[in-house]
Subunit: 279 residues, 3 copies
Amino acid sequence: MISKQELQQQIAEAAREVRATNPMAGSITNTVTINFVANAQIAVGGSAAMVYLPDEGEFLANAGNATYINVGTLLPIYEKTLPRTAKALHDAGKRWVLDPVAIGIGDMRTKLLAQFKDYKPTIIRGNASEIIALANLWGVAGDGGASQVRGVDSTQAVDEARTAAVALARYTQGAVAVSGEVDLVTDGEAVAYSKGGSHFMTKITGSGCSLGGVCAVYATTAQTPFACAMAGVQVYNLAGARAEAQVDAPGSFQVAFLDQLYKATPEDIAANPFDYEEA
Amino acid sequence: MISKQELQQQIAEAAREVRATNPMAGSITNTVTINFVANAQIAVGGSAAMVYLPDEGEFLANAGNATYINVGTLLPIYEKTLPRTAKALHDAGKRWVLDPVAIGIGDMRTKLLAQFKDYKPTIIRGNASEIIALANLWGVAGDGGASQVRGVDSTQAVDEARTAAVALARYTQGAVAVSGEVDLVTDGEAVAYSKGGSHFMTKITGSGCSLGGVCAVYATTAQTPFACAMAGVQVYNLAGARAEAQVDAPGSFQVAFLDQLYKATPEDIAANPFDYEEA
Amino acid sequence: MISKQELQQQIAEAAREVRATNPMAGSITNTVTINFVANAQIAVGGSAAMVYLPDEGEFLANAGNATYINVGTLLPIYEKTLPRTAKALHDAGKRWVLDPVAIGIGDMRTKLLAQFKDYKPTIIRGNASEIIALANLWGVAGDGGASQVRGVDSTQAVDEARTAAVALARYTQGAVAVSGEVDLVTDGEAVAYSKGGSHFMTKITGSGCSLGGVCAVYATTAQTPFACAMAGVQVYNLAGARAEAQVDAPGSFQVAFLDQLYKATPEDIAANPFDYEEA
């Protein structure tokens, strides 16, 4: 595993490259937070484009360096769009970020998430319950433990998902980010615990979804999946903490948070505190 | 009918229970205001989850204590999703909130709203024109008067819908909330007129939809449908008035309004001024 | 061509009429920015209503004086909804605004945009790449030049689309607005270059979509398509410049921008600086 300092340099480099090149990361994502995802992607320096139809998903998959798939609010057409897009990404060797929102609700969601196993997402972003459930669904963790998903919220602590996250990352050879009070990010070899953030991030909708979209923006760069996932998690924890210092309620927080995503420098993002250890 | 003081205690209790238990209220709602609905539900202390597919609607219906159905922007799949979800709610004895947005536009909307008659929503939330039109569609008011719906806006005053609202509440044995400059809430026995709010609530989209979603959050509690509907209407009028005092334009109002939804205490919500009389 | 002063009077008149009559302009628009479109339409004095289904599109087409069609995030049902709505608008002699977002992505988008040629939108609003691509698709510009669409962003300057914009306006006998650092608006006879705005308008999602929706609101008035498109472009440049003066980041900008849309007077909108010349 690389040193913490090397990782920080890669994080800063991912952030710098995004600011310099304004890369597009297309998304297929839920309608609840789609606006917030787009605004967050733009705030960190990326460009957003969202679609629903199969051939449009394939188009975006090939047009960008990385794509974001969030299964939040499934539509009937997703039965075709999501597998075709994931396959196009896989076949073209393109990076993609998966957010397995609300895994366990409904037949199509389970079927789609099972299909994604073959297309190995570069980064998986979820809360503890979702990461455990995905590892169980894919059968990659010997004993991932029981998942307790309630709607879209996690009922479990981040560290309960450590085994599952490491197993998923080893399977995909990518990175996994588990969101919680402290965020866990792993590439299967190292585990980082990123600090900061704000309790207000659970008082608005879309903190998690938009983090997935921002990870996709960083995933367009030449840095490792681990560094790209960390760049997303770090800028979220940094902006969350800075925004919380300015406000006392969630409406204002959302505005201040987008502002701080925009203002965060690559150096600040890399310097946000995190612990770092072997997996 | 219970005393005003008893009603106020129930309103406060509904708000307290929500703050204490963070209950999930699932929604099938329109894409225009879906983000605002979720953020408002979270701001008052609830948890939000939105879906489109039939089996997912049934899942949420059974997973939560109350569900919100808003017919704002119908999709083709709603022809299956909405009746199946409403039936699941009815069969399980679960509470649900109906917002008959834009009743009268299109064949599917009329057909779906007609079907809902059998599944008796616990709370109906609409503007005056929508409430009159729904009472006419269901044939529950001897003379509900003529409804004048124009797109999604009401062209009629709240009191014109009093007869229709009382008749609907008697039919469903639940509560009906009519939104306007003063809000009328009834359980068919008593009528309350809740005051406050802001003219800016008509200068943003989603005041009504998100109120429906918030009523569903309160409807998860052990209080009566009338007290739950009143809790929603009261916190809206309180937060609206407080937000208006801080701003001079609608963009800022929306932010301040979410902040004030978050800050309102159960006591403040119960104490918001309202008139109270027999139906 | 009319004088600049006459044009300014017509712009002010369009804005005045909207403030006085609160006209509804229905929309079929993308889910990414649908909330922002509605809030912007309301902020300038209009009323918003969004639908997806074919008969609902026809209903709105006939219910309002003008309708907005934005092809941003196509759903399968749009294959029926959009042609039927556009045909209803054309047959009833109603005005409508087309935003050819992301033209070139996917088969359905191209097919729908090709069909719209027969239904002649009253106002076309797009970025330079989209306007050039539409003129090429419709074959109305002898040599519109090559379009370079990347996702939803333009890669070309506004003046590169002048020939295409003028040709489109002559074909539709309506107006065309090309968004960029300076905005070009033409009716095929005159060309106006509207100034102001803010670099933050490219740091949020929906500046363009919501401008299309606001143009539809002004298009409900008795003024010419050119004056209505100019009213929209002018209020955007005015509000953008005023909002930028108040903020230093995009989250705050979006709030301040909606506030300034609301505060702009008809006189201010007409007086926003623009150059004006023969086409």
